[in-house]
Symmetry: C2
Subunit: 290 residues, 2 copies
Protein backbone atom coordinates (compact mmCIF):
# COMPACT_ATOMS: atom_id res chain seq x y z
CA UNK A 1 0.00 0.00 0.00
CA UNK A 2 1.56 3.28 -1.06
CA UNK A 3 1.60 6.34 1.16
CA UNK A 4 -0.98 7.94 -1.07
CA UNK A 5 -3.29 4.99 -0.48
CA UNK A 6 -2.73 4.64 3.23
CA UNK A 7 -5.75 5.65 5.27
CA UNK A 8 -3.44 6.16 8.23
CA UNK A 9 -1.10 8.53 6.45
CA UNK A 10 -1.35 12.25 6.22
CA UNK A 11 -2.23 11.94 2.55
CA UNK A 12 -5.25 10.71 0.72
CA UNK A 13 -7.42 7.64 1.14
CA UNK A 14 -8.63 6.17 -2.12
CA UNK A 15 -12.32 5.36 -1.79
CA UNK A 16 -14.10 3.25 -4.40
CA UNK A 17 -17.76 2.58 -5.14
CA UNK A 18 -18.59 -0.54 -7.16
CA UNK A 19 -21.89 0.07 -8.95
CA UNK A 20 -23.03 -3.49 -9.69
CA UNK A 21 -25.85 -5.27 -11.51
CA UNK A 22 -27.01 -7.96 -9.07
CA UNK A 23 -29.84 -10.36 -9.86
CA UNK A 24 -32.12 -11.48 -7.08
CA UNK A 25 -31.57 -15.13 -6.20
CA UNK A 26 -28.23 -15.50 -7.97
CA UNK A 27 -25.94 -15.40 -4.93
CA UNK A 28 -23.08 -17.14 -6.70
CA UNK A 29 -23.22 -14.85 -9.71
CA UNK A 30 -23.67 -11.76 -7.55
CA UNK A 31 -20.62 -12.65 -5.47
CA UNK A 32 -18.58 -13.19 -8.64
CA UNK A 33 -19.72 -9.80 -10.04
CA UNK A 34 -18.68 -8.16 -6.78
CA UNK A 35 -15.31 -9.96 -6.91
CA UNK A 36 -14.57 -8.55 -10.34
CA UNK A 37 -15.40 -5.04 -9.20
CA UNK A 38 -13.38 -5.33 -5.98
CA UNK A 39 -10.36 -6.41 -8.05
CA UNK A 40 -10.83 -3.43 -10.35
CA UNK A 41 -11.19 -1.09 -7.38
CA UNK A 42 -8.04 -2.47 -5.77
CA UNK A 43 -6.14 -2.19 -9.06
CA UNK A 44 -7.14 1.48 -9.15
CA UNK A 45 -5.62 1.98 -5.73
CA UNK A 46 -8.87 1.66 -3.80
CA UNK A 47 -8.38 1.30 -0.08
CA UNK A 48 -12.00 1.47 1.15
CA UNK A 49 -14.27 -0.36 -1.31
CA UNK A 50 -18.04 0.13 -1.07
CA UNK A 51 -20.59 -2.25 -2.61
CA UNK A 52 -24.39 -1.86 -2.93
CA UNK A 53 -27.16 -2.77 -0.53
CA UNK A 54 -28.02 -6.50 -0.54
CA UNK A 55 -25.03 -7.22 -2.77
CA UNK A 56 -25.21 -11.01 -2.73
CA UNK A 57 -28.96 -11.69 -2.43
CA UNK A 58 -30.32 -9.08 -4.83
CA UNK A 59 -33.21 -6.83 -3.83
CA UNK A 60 -36.60 -7.60 -5.33
CA UNK A 61 -37.75 -10.52 -3.22
CA UNK A 62 -41.17 -11.99 -3.93
CA UNK A 63 -41.76 -12.41 -0.22
CA UNK A 64 -40.10 -13.05 3.13
CA UNK A 65 -39.77 -16.74 2.34
CA UNK A 66 -37.60 -16.01 -0.69
CA UNK A 67 -35.55 -13.49 1.29
CA UNK A 68 -35.02 -16.09 4.03
CA UNK A 69 -33.75 -18.56 1.45
CA UNK A 70 -31.09 -15.99 0.40
CA UNK A 71 -30.16 -14.84 3.90
CA UNK A 72 -26.94 -15.68 5.67
CA UNK A 73 -25.51 -15.10 9.12
CA UNK A 74 -23.03 -12.31 9.91
CA UNK A 75 -20.26 -13.41 10.02
CA UNK A 76 -21.09 -15.91 7.30
CA UNK A 77 -20.16 -17.06 3.82
CA UNK A 78 -20.12 -13.61 2.20
CA UNK A 79 -18.23 -11.84 4.97
CA UNK A 80 -15.70 -14.69 5.11
CA UNK A 81 -15.21 -14.44 1.37
CA UNK A 82 -14.77 -10.66 1.59
CA UNK A 83 -12.33 -11.12 4.45
CA UNK A 84 -10.18 -13.23 2.12
CA UNK A 85 -10.35 -10.59 -0.61
CA UNK A 86 -9.58 -7.87 1.93
CA UNK A 87 -6.45 -9.77 2.94
CA UNK A 88 -5.44 -10.46 -0.65
CA UNK A 89 -5.79 -6.85 -1.79
CA UNK A 90 -5.15 -4.94 1.44
CA UNK A 91 -8.55 -3.25 1.29
CA UNK A 92 -11.50 -2.69 3.59
CA UNK A 93 -14.86 -3.76 2.12
CA UNK A 94 -18.22 -2.20 3.00
CA UNK A 95 -21.22 -4.09 1.65
CA UNK A 96 -24.89 -4.88 2.13
CA UNK A 97 -26.06 -8.39 3.01
CA UNK A 98 -29.38 -10.07 3.67
CA UNK A 99 -28.83 -11.16 7.27
CA UNK A 100 -30.37 -14.18 8.90
CA UNK A 101 -30.86 -13.11 12.52
CA UNK A 102 -30.96 -16.74 13.66
CA UNK A 103 -34.41 -16.61 15.27
CA UNK A 104 -36.46 -16.28 12.10
CA UNK A 105 -35.80 -12.55 11.81
CA UNK A 106 -34.20 -11.04 8.71
CA UNK A 107 -32.23 -7.80 8.57
CA UNK A 108 -31.21 -5.54 5.72
CA UNK A 109 -27.66 -5.33 7.02
CA UNK A 110 -24.31 -3.89 6.04
CA UNK A 111 -20.84 -4.89 7.15
CA UNK A 112 -17.37 -3.40 7.28
CA UNK A 113 -14.84 -6.18 6.66
CA UNK A 114 -11.07 -6.18 6.61
CA UNK A 115 -8.39 -8.89 6.77
CA UNK A 116 -9.23 -9.47 10.44
CA UNK A 117 -12.92 -10.13 9.79
CA UNK A 118 -16.12 -8.17 10.43
CA UNK A 119 -15.12 -4.86 12.01
CA UNK A 120 -18.72 -3.73 12.34
CA UNK A 121 -22.21 -4.80 11.35
CA UNK A 122 -25.26 -2.57 11.02
CA UNK A 123 -28.97 -3.30 10.53
CA UNK A 124 -31.00 -0.82 8.47
CA UNK A 125 -33.23 1.21 10.75
CA UNK A 126 -35.44 2.96 8.17
CA UNK A 127 -36.99 0.34 5.89
CA UNK A 128 -38.14 1.18 2.37
CA UNK A 129 -41.51 0.14 0.95
CA UNK A 130 -41.97 -3.65 0.79
CA UNK A 131 -38.84 -4.20 2.88
CA UNK A 132 -41.26 -3.66 5.77
CA UNK A 133 -42.94 -6.94 4.81
CA UNK A 134 -39.61 -8.81 4.88
CA UNK A 135 -37.16 -7.30 7.34
CA UNK A 136 -37.10 -6.44 11.01
CA UNK A 137 -35.89 -2.84 11.44
CA UNK A 138 -32.64 -2.35 13.32
CA UNK A 139 -32.55 -0.34 16.50
CA UNK A 140 -28.87 0.47 16.90
CA UNK A 141 -27.02 3.57 15.66
CA UNK A 142 -24.53 3.40 12.79
CA UNK A 143 -21.21 2.02 14.04
CA UNK A 144 -18.01 4.04 13.67
CA UNK A 145 -14.80 2.03 13.36
CA UNK A 146 -11.14 2.80 12.95
CA UNK A 147 -9.75 1.95 9.51
CA UNK A 148 -6.05 2.66 9.48
CA UNK A 149 -6.42 5.82 11.52
CA UNK A 150 -9.56 7.08 9.78
CA UNK A 151 -13.05 6.69 11.21
CA UNK A 152 -15.51 4.96 8.94
CA UNK A 153 -19.25 4.49 9.42
CA UNK A 154 -22.05 2.80 7.50
CA UNK A 155 -25.80 3.04 7.01
CA UNK A 156 -28.10 1.72 4.30
CA UNK A 157 -29.97 3.52 1.50
CA UNK A 158 -33.19 5.15 2.86
CA UNK A 159 -31.43 5.70 6.24
CA UNK A 160 -29.50 8.57 4.64
CA UNK A 161 -32.74 10.48 4.00
CA UNK A 162 -33.05 11.09 7.75
CA UNK A 163 -30.64 13.90 8.61
CA UNK A 164 -30.92 13.10 12.30
CA UNK A 165 -29.52 9.67 11.52
CA UNK A 166 -26.62 10.97 9.46
CA UNK A 167 -25.81 13.35 12.29
CA UNK A 168 -25.12 10.49 14.72
CA UNK A 169 -21.96 9.08 13.12
CA UNK A 170 -20.77 12.61 12.39
CA UNK A 171 -21.05 13.43 16.09
CA UNK A 172 -19.17 10.21 16.82
CA UNK A 173 -16.31 11.52 14.71
CA UNK A 174 -16.84 9.65 11.44
CA UNK A 175 -14.63 10.97 8.65
CA UNK A 176 -16.30 8.85 5.97
CA UNK A 177 -19.85 7.53 5.87
CA UNK A 178 -20.39 4.61 3.48
CA UNK A 179 -23.91 4.05 2.17
CA UNK A 180 -24.65 0.79 0.34
CA UNK A 181 -27.85 1.62 -1.58
CA UNK A 182 -30.39 0.35 -4.08
CA UNK A 183 -32.00 3.63 -5.12
CA UNK A 184 -35.30 3.06 -6.93
CA UNK A 185 -35.67 5.27 -9.95
CA UNK A 186 -38.18 8.14 -9.74
CA UNK A 187 -39.11 10.72 -12.37
CA UNK A 188 -37.17 13.97 -12.19
CA UNK A 189 -37.02 17.21 -14.16
CA UNK A 190 -34.75 17.02 -17.17
CA UNK A 191 -31.17 18.15 -16.46
CA UNK A 192 -31.64 17.84 -12.71
CA UNK A 193 -29.27 15.73 -10.67
CA UNK A 194 -31.06 12.84 -8.93
CA UNK A 195 -32.45 13.99 -5.57
CA UNK A 196 -30.81 10.98 -3.90
CA UNK A 197 -27.46 12.57 -4.74
CA UNK A 198 -28.60 16.06 -3.71
CA UNK A 199 -29.51 14.72 -0.29
CA UNK A 200 -26.11 13.04 0.06
CA UNK A 201 -24.37 16.29 -0.89
CA UNK A 202 -26.35 18.28 1.66
CA UNK A 203 -25.73 15.73 4.41
CA UNK A 204 -21.99 15.75 3.75
CA UNK A 205 -21.94 19.54 3.73
CA UNK A 206 -23.83 20.18 6.97
CA UNK A 207 -21.65 17.64 8.76
CA UNK A 208 -18.35 18.25 6.98
CA UNK A 209 -18.05 14.48 6.49
CA UNK A 210 -17.18 12.52 3.35
CA UNK A 211 -19.93 10.25 2.04
CA UNK A 212 -19.54 7.37 -0.42
CA UNK A 213 -22.92 6.09 -1.62
CA UNK A 214 -22.83 2.97 -3.79
CA UNK A 215 -25.93 2.34 -5.90
CA UNK A 216 -26.84 -0.49 -8.27
CA UNK A 217 -28.18 -0.86 -11.82
CA UNK A 218 -30.02 -3.50 -13.83
CA UNK A 219 -33.77 -4.03 -14.19
CA UNK A 220 -34.87 -6.60 -11.60
CA UNK A 221 -38.46 -7.92 -11.64
CA UNK A 222 -39.73 -4.60 -12.97
CA UNK A 223 -37.66 -2.44 -10.62
CA UNK A 224 -35.20 0.02 -12.11
CA UNK A 225 -32.57 2.06 -10.31
CA UNK A 226 -30.95 5.48 -10.33
CA UNK A 227 -27.40 4.19 -10.89
CA UNK A 228 -26.34 7.30 -9.01
CA UNK A 229 -23.28 6.20 -7.07
CA UNK A 230 -21.30 9.16 -5.78
CA UNK A 231 -18.33 10.03 -3.59
CA UNK A 232 -18.63 13.52 -2.10
CA UNK A 233 -16.12 15.51 -0.08
CA UNK A 234 -16.66 17.27 3.25
CA UNK A 235 -18.02 20.33 1.42
CA UNK A 236 -20.59 18.17 -0.38
CA UNK A 237 -19.00 18.36 -3.85
CA UNK A 238 -18.85 15.17 -5.92
CA UNK A 239 -15.32 13.82 -6.41
CA UNK A 240 -16.57 10.90 -8.52
CA UNK A 241 -19.97 10.04 -9.95
CA UNK A 242 -22.82 12.34 -9.05
CA UNK A 243 -25.03 11.56 -12.04
CA UNK A 244 -27.32 8.74 -13.10
CA UNK A 245 -25.80 5.99 -15.24
CA UNK A 246 -27.20 2.61 -16.25
CA UNK A 247 -23.69 1.16 -16.38
CA UNK A 248 -21.76 -1.18 -14.14
CA UNK A 249 -18.83 1.00 -13.08
CA UNK A 250 -16.17 1.46 -10.44
CA UNK A 251 -15.86 5.01 -9.13
CA UNK A 252 -12.59 5.97 -7.48
CA UNK A 253 -11.70 9.16 -5.62
CA UNK A 254 -8.70 10.30 -3.63
CA UNK A 255 -10.15 11.63 -0.40
CA UNK A 256 -8.39 13.85 2.10
CA UNK A 257 -10.32 12.40 5.00
CA UNK A 258 -8.42 14.55 7.49
CA UNK A 259 -10.45 17.48 6.17
CA UNK A 260 -13.49 15.99 7.90
CA UNK A 261 -11.80 16.66 11.23
CA UNK A 262 -12.01 20.39 10.59
CA UNK A 263 -15.58 21.47 11.32
CA UNK A 264 -14.83 25.18 11.05
CA UNK A 265 -16.62 27.07 8.26
CA UNK A 266 -15.89 30.67 9.30
CA UNK A 267 -13.79 32.40 11.95
CA UNK A 268 -16.74 32.08 14.33
CA UNK A 269 -18.54 28.95 13.11
CA UNK A 270 -18.20 25.21 13.61
CA UNK A 271 -20.89 22.93 12.18
CA UNK A 272 -20.95 20.83 15.34
CA UNK A 273 -20.34 23.43 18.06
CA UNK A 274 -23.03 25.68 16.52
CA UNK A 275 -25.72 23.07 17.09
CA UNK A 276 -28.37 23.79 19.76
CA UNK A 277 -29.38 20.22 20.66
CA UNK A 278 -31.31 21.34 23.71
CA UNK A 279 -33.77 22.95 21.29
CA UNK A 280 -33.99 20.13 18.73
CA UNK A 281 -35.93 17.25 20.21
CA UNK A 282 -39.24 18.52 21.57
CA UNK A 283 -40.96 15.20 20.97
CA UNK A 284 -38.37 13.35 22.99
CA UNK A 285 -38.47 15.94 25.77
CA UNK A 286 -42.25 16.08 25.79
CA UNK A 287 -42.58 12.34 25.69
CA UNK A 288 -39.89 11.53 28.20
CA UNK A 289 -37.82 14.01 30.07
CA UNK A 290 -40.31 16.72 30.95
CA UNK B 1 -57.34 37.92 -5.08
CA UNK B 2 -58.13 35.36 -7.74
CA UNK B 3 -58.80 31.74 -6.95
CA UNK B 4 -55.45 30.82 -8.41
CA UNK B 5 -53.76 33.18 -5.98
CA UNK B 6 -55.74 32.29 -2.92
CA UNK B 7 -53.70 30.40 -0.37
CA UNK B 8 -56.94 29.11 1.09
CA UNK B 9 -58.25 27.68 -2.16
CA UNK B 10 -57.64 24.26 -3.55
CA UNK B 11 -55.43 25.79 -6.22
CA UNK B 12 -52.03 27.33 -6.18
CA UNK B 13 -50.42 29.91 -3.94
CA UNK B 14 -48.14 32.31 -5.75
CA UNK B 15 -44.95 32.69 -3.73
CA UNK B 16 -42.43 35.42 -4.55
CA UNK B 17 -38.83 36.03 -3.51
CA UNK B 18 -37.50 39.59 -3.86
CA UNK B 19 -33.74 39.38 -4.28
CA UNK B 20 -32.64 42.89 -3.27
CA UNK B 21 -29.48 44.97 -3.12
CA UNK B 22 -29.57 46.58 0.34
CA UNK B 23 -26.85 48.90 1.59
CA UNK B 24 -25.92 48.85 5.25
CA UNK B 25 -27.05 52.02 7.03
CA UNK B 26 -29.43 53.22 4.32
CA UNK B 27 -32.71 52.25 5.97
CA UNK B 28 -34.77 54.69 3.91
CA UNK B 29 -33.27 53.54 0.62
CA UNK B 30 -33.50 49.89 1.61
CA UNK B 31 -37.18 50.24 2.48
CA UNK B 32 -37.83 51.95 -0.86
CA UNK B 33 -35.99 49.18 -2.75
CA UNK B 34 -38.11 46.61 -0.93
CA UNK B 35 -41.28 48.58 -1.77
CA UNK B 36 -40.50 48.47 -5.46
CA UNK B 37 -39.94 44.73 -5.35
CA UNK B 38 -43.07 44.06 -3.30
CA UNK B 39 -45.11 45.99 -5.89
CA UNK B 40 -43.56 43.95 -8.68
CA UNK B 41 -44.23 40.72 -6.78
CA UNK B 42 -47.85 41.69 -6.19
CA UNK B 43 -48.26 42.68 -9.84
CA UNK B 44 -47.05 39.18 -10.77
CA UNK B 45 -49.76 37.66 -8.61
CA UNK B 46 -47.57 37.09 -5.57
CA UNK B 47 -49.51 36.21 -2.46
CA UNK B 48 -46.68 35.38 -0.04
CA UNK B 49 -43.76 37.75 -0.62
CA UNK B 50 -40.36 36.94 0.91
CA UNK B 51 -37.59 39.52 1.40
CA UNK B 52 -33.96 38.97 2.49
CA UNK B 53 -32.44 38.82 5.95
CA UNK B 54 -31.92 42.27 7.54
CA UNK B 55 -33.83 43.92 4.69
CA UNK B 56 -33.92 47.44 6.08
CA UNK B 57 -30.68 47.70 8.05
CA UNK B 58 -28.30 45.97 5.65
CA UNK B 59 -25.89 43.32 6.89
CA UNK B 60 -22.24 44.28 7.20
CA UNK B 61 -22.23 46.23 10.45
CA UNK B 62 -18.92 47.60 11.69
CA UNK B 63 -19.87 46.70 15.23
CA UNK B 64 -22.76 46.28 17.66
CA UNK B 65 -23.03 50.04 18.09
CA UNK B 66 -23.77 50.54 14.42
CA UNK B 67 -26.25 47.67 14.45
CA UNK B 68 -27.99 49.20 17.44
CA UNK B 69 -28.31 52.48 15.58
CA UNK B 70 -30.14 50.64 12.77
CA UNK B 71 -32.30 48.43 15.00
CA UNK B 72 -36.00 48.85 15.51
CA UNK B 73 -38.63 47.25 17.70
CA UNK B 74 -41.01 44.54 16.46
CA UNK B 75 -43.68 45.74 15.83
CA UNK B 76 -42.03 48.94 14.69
CA UNK B 77 -41.59 51.26 11.73
CA UNK B 78 -40.74 48.57 9.17
CA UNK B 79 -43.43 46.12 10.20
CA UNK B 80 -46.02 48.93 10.27
CA UNK B 81 -44.97 49.99 6.79
CA UNK B 82 -45.17 46.40 5.52
CA UNK B 83 -48.58 46.06 7.17
CA UNK B 84 -49.77 48.98 5.04
CA UNK B 85 -48.35 47.40 1.89
CA UNK B 86 -49.87 44.04 2.83
CA UNK B 87 -53.26 45.71 3.10
CA UNK B 88 -52.83 47.65 -0.15
CA UNK B 89 -51.79 44.61 -2.18
CA UNK B 90 -53.51 41.79 -0.35
CA UNK B 91 -50.22 40.00 0.32
CA UNK B 92 -48.38 38.49 3.26
CA UNK B 93 -44.82 39.75 3.68
CA UNK B 94 -41.98 37.74 5.24
CA UNK B 95 -38.82 39.75 5.92
CA UNK B 96 -35.72 40.06 8.04
CA UNK B 97 -35.25 42.98 10.44
CA UNK B 98 -32.57 44.11 12.89
CA UNK B 99 -34.59 43.94 16.09
CA UNK B 100 -34.04 46.12 19.14
CA UNK B 101 -34.94 43.86 22.04
CA UNK B 102 -35.57 46.86 24.29
CA UNK B 103 -33.03 45.96 26.96
CA UNK B 104 -29.87 46.56 24.98
CA UNK B 105 -30.11 43.21 23.22
CA UNK B 106 -30.24 42.96 19.43
CA UNK B 107 -31.75 40.10 17.42
CA UNK B 108 -31.39 39.01 13.82
CA UNK B 109 -35.14 38.64 13.45
CA UNK B 110 -37.73 37.85 10.81
CA UNK B 111 -41.42 38.67 10.72
CA UNK B 112 -44.54 37.47 8.96
CA UNK B 113 -46.79 40.48 8.38
CA UNK B 114 -50.24 40.78 6.84
CA UNK B 115 -52.94 43.47 6.83
CA UNK B 116 -53.67 42.71 10.50
CA UNK B 117 -50.07 43.28 11.61
CA UNK B 118 -47.27 40.98 12.77
CA UNK B 119 -48.56 37.41 12.61
CA UNK B 120 -45.31 35.99 13.94
CA UNK B 121 -41.81 37.06 14.83
CA UNK B 122 -38.73 34.86 14.99
CA UNK B 123 -35.20 35.44 16.28
CA UNK B 124 -32.34 33.68 14.49
CA UNK B 125 -31.05 30.83 16.64
CA UNK B 126 -27.88 29.91 14.71
CA UNK B 127 -25.76 33.02 14.26
CA UNK B 128 -23.25 33.34 11.43
CA UNK B 129 -19.68 34.54 11.90
CA UNK B 130 -19.46 38.12 13.23
CA UNK B 131 -23.18 38.16 13.96
CA UNK B 132 -22.08 36.51 17.20
CA UNK B 133 -20.40 39.79 18.15
CA UNK B 134 -23.60 41.75 17.52
CA UNK B 135 -26.71 39.69 18.14
CA UNK B 136 -28.16 37.65 20.97
CA UNK B 137 -29.17 34.22 19.65
CA UNK B 138 -32.85 33.35 19.79
CA UNK B 139 -34.06 30.40 21.80
CA UNK B 140 -37.52 29.74 20.40
CA UNK B 141 -38.50 27.40 17.56
CA UNK B 142 -39.67 28.72 14.19
CA UNK B 143 -43.30 29.84 14.42
CA UNK B 144 -45.93 28.29 12.16
CA UNK B 145 -48.90 30.51 11.32
CA UNK B 146 -52.03 30.19 9.26
CA UNK B 147 -52.00 32.24 6.07
CA UNK B 148 -55.33 31.85 4.32
CA UNK B 149 -55.56 28.17 5.16
CA UNK B 150 -51.91 27.36 4.48
CA UNK B 151 -49.31 26.98 7.21
CA UNK B 152 -46.28 29.20 6.83
CA UNK B 153 -43.09 29.21 8.87
CA UNK B 154 -39.91 31.25 8.91
CA UNK B 155 -36.24 30.91 9.89
CA UNK B 156 -33.16 32.92 8.93
CA UNK B 157 -30.21 32.02 6.67
CA UNK B 158 -27.70 29.80 8.54
CA UNK B 159 -30.60 28.29 10.54
CA UNK B 160 -31.53 26.27 7.45
CA UNK B 161 -28.16 24.45 7.55
CA UNK B 162 -29.32 22.59 10.65
CA UNK B 163 -31.65 19.84 9.47
CA UNK B 164 -32.92 19.31 13.01
CA UNK B 165 -34.15 22.90 12.96
CA UNK B 166 -35.89 22.59 9.60
CA UNK B 167 -37.59 19.46 10.89
CA UNK B 168 -39.38 21.36 13.67
CA UNK B 169 -41.75 23.47 11.55
CA UNK B 170 -42.29 20.49 9.24
CA UNK B 171 -43.43 18.43 12.24
CA UNK B 172 -45.68 21.35 13.22
CA UNK B 173 -47.37 21.04 9.84
CA UNK B 174 -45.73 23.86 7.89
CA UNK B 175 -46.55 23.73 4.18
CA UNK B 176 -44.11 26.50 3.26
CA UNK B 177 -40.92 27.52 5.05
CA UNK B 178 -39.70 31.03 4.21
CA UNK B 179 -35.99 31.74 4.67
CA UNK B 180 -34.82 35.36 4.50
CA UNK B 181 -31.08 35.01 3.84
CA UNK B 182 -27.84 36.85 3.12
CA UNK B 183 -25.73 34.01 1.78
CA UNK B 184 -22.03 34.92 1.73
CA UNK B 185 -20.34 33.83 -1.46
CA UNK B 186 -17.92 30.90 -1.26
CA UNK B 187 -15.84 29.30 -4.01
CA UNK B 188 -17.47 26.33 -5.73
CA UNK B 189 -16.59 23.97 -8.57
CA UNK B 190 -17.49 25.33 -11.97
CA UNK B 191 -20.96 24.29 -13.17
CA UNK B 192 -22.03 23.28 -9.68
CA UNK B 193 -25.16 24.75 -8.14
CA UNK B 194 -24.42 26.74 -4.97
CA UNK B 195 -24.39 24.42 -1.95
CA UNK B 196 -26.77 26.81 -0.15
CA UNK B 197 -29.39 25.83 -2.72
CA UNK B 198 -28.50 22.13 -2.58
CA UNK B 199 -29.11 22.17 1.17
CA UNK B 200 -32.50 23.86 0.68
CA UNK B 201 -33.47 21.25 -1.92
CA UNK B 202 -32.53 18.39 0.37
CA UNK B 203 -34.37 19.90 3.33
CA UNK B 204 -37.54 20.37 1.29
CA UNK B 205 -37.29 16.84 -0.03
CA UNK B 206 -36.79 15.01 3.26
CA UNK B 207 -39.69 16.93 4.80
CA UNK B 208 -41.96 17.20 1.76
CA UNK B 209 -42.32 20.92 2.50
CA UNK B 210 -42.00 23.89 0.14
CA UNK B 211 -39.13 26.26 0.89
CA UNK B 212 -38.74 29.83 -0.39
CA UNK B 213 -35.25 31.18 0.35
CA UNK B 214 -34.70 34.85 -0.48
CA UNK B 215 -31.09 35.92 -0.86
CA UNK B 216 -29.51 39.34 -1.55
CA UNK B 217 -26.90 40.76 -3.94
CA UNK B 218 -24.60 43.80 -4.04
CA UNK B 219 -21.08 44.14 -2.68
CA UNK B 220 -21.27 45.59 0.83
CA UNK B 221 -18.07 46.58 2.66
CA UNK B 222 -16.15 43.82 0.91
CA UNK B 223 -18.81 41.15 1.37
CA UNK B 224 -20.29 39.52 -1.70
CA UNK B 225 -23.28 37.19 -1.89
CA UNK B 226 -24.50 34.12 -3.72
CA UNK B 227 -27.62 35.77 -5.16
CA UNK B 228 -29.11 32.28 -5.01
CA UNK B 229 -32.77 32.89 -4.21
CA UNK B 230 -34.87 29.82 -4.89
CA UNK B 231 -38.39 28.49 -4.49
CA UNK B 232 -38.47 24.69 -4.28
CA UNK B 233 -41.41 22.31 -4.21
CA UNK B 234 -42.11 19.50 -1.77
CA UNK B 235 -39.92 17.14 -3.81
CA UNK B 236 -37.01 19.60 -3.61
CA UNK B 237 -37.09 20.72 -7.27
CA UNK B 238 -36.63 24.42 -8.01
CA UNK B 239 -39.76 26.09 -9.37
CA UNK B 240 -38.00 29.46 -9.69
CA UNK B 241 -34.38 30.50 -9.27
CA UNK B 242 -31.95 27.84 -8.17
CA UNK B 243 -28.82 29.42 -9.58
CA UNK B 244 -26.50 32.26 -8.62
CA UNK B 245 -27.25 35.67 -10.12
CA UNK B 246 -25.81 39.09 -9.29
CA UNK B 247 -29.07 40.73 -10.29
CA UNK B 248 -31.88 42.32 -8.35
CA UNK B 249 -34.83 40.14 -9.34
CA UNK B 250 -38.28 38.99 -8.30
CA UNK B 251 -38.82 35.24 -8.50
CA UNK B 252 -42.41 34.03 -8.71
CA UNK B 253 -43.72 30.46 -8.54
CA UNK B 254 -47.17 28.94 -8.41
CA UNK B 255 -47.02 26.50 -5.53
CA UNK B 256 -49.48 23.69 -4.85
CA UNK B 257 -48.94 23.93 -1.12
CA UNK B 258 -51.53 21.21 -0.47
CA UNK B 259 -48.92 18.75 -1.78
CA UNK B 260 -46.94 19.35 1.40
CA UNK B 261 -49.75 17.73 3.35
CA UNK B 262 -49.04 14.42 1.62
CA UNK B 263 -45.98 12.90 3.28
CA UNK B 264 -46.29 9.57 1.48
CA UNK B 265 -43.42 8.62 -0.83
CA UNK B 266 -44.23 4.94 -1.45
CA UNK B 267 -47.08 2.57 -0.60
CA UNK B 268 -45.33 1.85 2.70
CA UNK B 269 -43.44 5.07 3.43
CA UNK B 270 -44.21 8.43 4.99
CA UNK B 271 -41.36 10.86 5.62
CA UNK B 272 -42.70 11.75 9.05
CA UNK B 273 -44.14 8.43 10.24
CA UNK B 274 -40.91 6.66 9.23
CA UNK B 275 -38.86 8.71 11.67
CA UNK B 276 -37.43 6.95 14.75
CA UNK B 277 -37.11 9.92 17.13
CA UNK B 278 -36.46 7.68 20.12
CA UNK B 279 -33.14 6.82 18.48
CA UNK B 280 -32.15 10.33 17.33
CA UNK B 281 -31.17 12.38 20.34
CA UNK B 282 -28.58 10.52 22.37
CA UNK B 283 -27.02 13.71 23.68
CA UNK B 284 -30.34 14.94 24.99
CA UNK B 285 -31.17 11.57 26.50
CA UNK B 286 -27.69 11.14 27.97
CA UNK B 287 -27.66 14.66 29.31
CA UNK B 288 -31.15 14.72 30.67
CA UNK B 289 -33.63 11.91 30.63
CA UNK B 290 -31.51 8.85 31.29
Amino acid sequence: MSAAQSPGGGGTTVVACCQLRPQVGDATGNRARADTAIRRAAASGGSVVVLPELTTSGYSFTDAREAASLAEPVPGPSTEHWQELAAEFGVTIVAGVCEDGGDGSLFNAAVIVDRSGVLAAYRKVHLWDREKLVFTPGDRPPPVVDVGGRRVSVMVCYDVEFPEWVRLPALQGADLLCVPANWPRFPRPEAERPMEIVRVQASASVNRMYIAACDRVGMERGNDWVGGSVIVDADGWPLAGGYASPDVRVLVAECRLDEARNKSISPHNDVQADRRPELYAPEVLEGGAR
